[in-house]
Homo-oligomer: 229 residues x 6
């Protein structure tokens, strides 16, 4: 079982970027937390975006946390880094999803940079695409054929944005899923650019995370014995 | 259980690039096949490199196949592509490891290009690093802390090359494993650059690979119902 | 009026990559030539692919030329370069469309490389995406909202491939058009990566292509007079 | 006719980056607006830089707008984004020129980032090179052979900088124009790296910018009829 | 003799990134200055990091300067740029070493950006790797086989960090040195990504830095005489 | 003193790419060898290109070697690699200059690839730009202000190409030198993209190239003693 933390700058960012993947995680028994850094109060419409976001998180089977920061003012400073660190710790996340770093929205860039700082000790950080993302070269994909409708349901919960924001276009979401699916040689996919992604091939026996521990030193001797003199 | 196919141009290429990862696959119960495209007859020394390679494959718990091509003459032409296709089919591989495309050895470049052609319908193609690899930006890693000594044992089987080839330096192999391990925030790692890598979060229910099948059409209707009008 | 030359390795490559853009060119009064380098005789099916290709070219309002080379054996050698040069000259092309250079099909790579050689003196060379293209970062787009159905009609002419090739998926073609359209902030788009693209802002008065001509020298004096001493 | 908006952080930035291209736009009958974000008050010299800039804009046939921000303090925050948005709206720009994002001057980076944010719905954003630009891989060019002297005249209007700034070297401006011209296979060129550039091949009949409009739905049916079942 | 300025955000950054290279500079008779921008007061432990840093600088034979900025709050603003400019001037640096720009630590990114600004007129700016650096493609290397132990001695002076910081792992430092050494085809290396690096092949006779000086104009005539008419 | 080997596919390639740098090497007392792989017999004109090349080499103070291969048919196969290896050995080169790998001329691509293979054990391989080079991001520069006229003199020796080849434009050569000079913050420069470049800061005492020698093992003990337990 994995502890997954998905981070977005505004309500609906996570759903757009990796909503179906989160559904696949919940279906696999993983524990999923969504961290929405701001209330999205600068977005169009007068709807209660907290309510929309709570409803969307529920459809994804995810816990919801709020960062309490202010829309359009995110910066990747020490306070934001510390804030995200606290949620990484709380969720015991070993896999983080966050915006791609090269994005034309300043909040998205800041969220990506701060998450990379906060997650500097994690072995799995994957970046998702937003409609405002600029360069994006995904190489890691998740098959979402079974979860595409679930993603659209979650997105629909953000009715105010679907209705009013020119950047939220559900038909483009479906098209991109098929586009990336073709790239991944499957049906529909969400696409990710990894900063780093350690694969789990199997529960490794006796894995140690710091090689200079006493166990590590034994290895050193075995290794040295195998090197040519 | 996965069917894994590791492809190398010469005896010892696969061990250097992903030997420990193959051990992790066997440990996880995956079926591993090694395809060595040439006999490495241009390498230094007079040892029987087929014997060395057989011995190395045995230590990795892998099946060994030979491509029967001639060292230093590999080209990514239709014949080489077809040859690799036949081994992908025979092994029913769903995950391929092969050289990185940007490599100063012409055989490595050719092996990478031909494998990309032959594996054009596969969802998982990962590139490993060789001592002659040029640009290499890995983002996917496998924890090999438990398998580093196993990798060195496999490498030792290629005694002629360890002894004579200036490009095979076991101490550099260990150093690189630790270098990439630090990048991956673990102990020791092998590093991979993915052409594409579909993650398995869980056995997806009712996965289909071609969305235009009859099952796919049902989805289309569900999807259409969820799009704004 | 432009003279446009679209180059593809096999029948259907051009339609998949830039079929709607060619329709936009014909609609704009440009003269469009399609150069299909091989007969695609290794593709699936027994249909007459020359007939299919002729029919597709007709729906696009384009002249059709055949390179007469053999499917799956293309190389970017001097003969292929000369062949393409002859068609650039015949068509007086000032804009060339061709495969993207990084593609897993050896013929596509060869077609791109040879076209770059043959077009080394041209100011406009744009690369289109194929289903087998690997890295692709398009920055130039053509709005094909009005020509998407036309593209599908042209594609349909290649019935044997649509029916039998796993790489030709019309629904993915539509999805990609919408995906790139969203990237380009329009409806549907074909996407291109330029090697170089000189824009036409206006018919420049007295344009010269070689600045060292006599006209160029006058400029030199005017320029020198404007430089600080 | 196009509405062109050129954005620069300081007086003389626009002239250095795309002055001749703006002349080509005016010559083509396009409407050109220059937005200079700061007064350049930290530059060398005591000259009135507003006067110099007004004079330069006049030689280019462009309208001049001032952002009123402070030299060396630009940040790509919400206020700067809104400011640029207002000028995009005022000028009804459909083509924006702005600094390249990777630049060693903090104001240039900020201007590029804020313009990308403000122009997130535009289909044409091109980045020009400054003397302080770092990585820059232009693929789009404009032939400025006929406008090189005009560019130098505009630059000369910034006499204080030409005289005193080590980064403003007219002879290097001419050399770069010839360098990029050779890259573009023409005489002299200004070079651009596009974030996205939708080409105009012809006035597309019935173009729509949002495909989910009623017109878009008709298309959907036509498209569906052309897809294989 | 060179004047070398190495810039780091925190105590120990410079030693980790280029400590052995600085030793090679001192050994070669170059004058080395280390500029540590903050006191590293947010790092783990209660040790006096100023004392540790002074001791480390002494082992490297380098002068030590402090930027006096606050740990975790660096920004590449005008004040930081001016601060670094003053140290470039004081040290008369013609070669600057600084963090790589793409780093997950906000202070490292800020130090790199500000140094690039401050060093905009310098011909030699090289970026070193930190444990938190993200993408890094070094092409320039220094042979540190003779200085590896010296680097470890300098690192040991930062006892509080070696003891307590999870990012400071001396065995990984050694491994990376061997990894990059193998890339550089030598024993052990420190690796650098250059923003720009002018090589010294020989003391050039009569070198001028501004070609439009009177000496430059003579050249112009000689050059013009050699161009075809 | 260095042994420098400059490799070009055709007569005039080396002069265009790094002629002035070779002059700087000779001026510094280095030994310079030029290896011209083909006779350039497909170039325009009827002049004796061997004679022209001999004359050009003389003006650069360089030894001239011929590869004896056929113009427009270069491939980076084992024979070409071996050929270049023999010249690396003969010249005892420790620094190689060769074409950039991404070039639209097939011979240039082949020369770069074969030289990278042949020079796989060298620590210094720099790529120069040709008029047909495609992507090129130089980071290493040589100040050629004192050698620009010398470069033009060498180029003039290739009178047939200057006269007849559309790709050889001396005024563009001068412009590019000034363009790269501005990038390098000097007067005029030749620009290089390094595959790898080990800097010489000083004659390192007791340098060893293979760390597993007996000398290397002593180091290992010293290093181990400095690592935390």
């Amino acid at each position: 079982m994995r502890n997954v933390l998905a981070i977005g700058a505004h309500p609906d960012d996570i759903e757009l970027g990796c909503g179906a993947t989160l559904l696949a995680h919940t279906a696999a028994g993983d524990r999923v937390t969504m961290l929405v850094l701001t209330g999205g109060e600068q977005g169009p419409g007068t709807a209660n975006r907290h309510t929309e976001q709570r409803s969307a998180a529920a459809t994804l089977g995810a816990s919801l946390r709020w960062g309490g920061l202010v829309d359009c003012t995110l910066t990747p400073d020490a306070a934001t880094v510390k804030l995200i660190e606290s949620f990484i710790e709380e969720s015991q996340a070993d896999l983080v999803y966050v915006h791609a770093p090269d994005d034309s929205h300043q909040d998205h860039r800041a969220a990506a940079a701060a998450a990379l700082s906060a997650g500097r000790r994690l072995s799995r950080v994957l970046h998702y695409q937003s409609p405002s993302t600029l360069s994006f070269n995904p190489t890691v994909f998740v098959d979402i054929t079974a979860h595409l409708t679930g993603k659209l349901v979650a997105l629909k919960a953000h009715a105010s944005q679907v209705e009013l924001s020119a950047m939220v276009e559900p038909d483009a979401v479906v098209a991109s899923a098929r586009h990336w699916g073709a790239q991944a040689r499957i049906g529909y996919a969400e696409a990710f650019a990894p900063t780093r992604m350690v694969l789990d091939l199997a529960p490794a026996p006796g894995r140690r995370t710091r090689p200079r521990s006493s166990a590590g030193r034994h290895d050193s001797e075995a290794v040295a014995a195998l090197l040519p003199r």
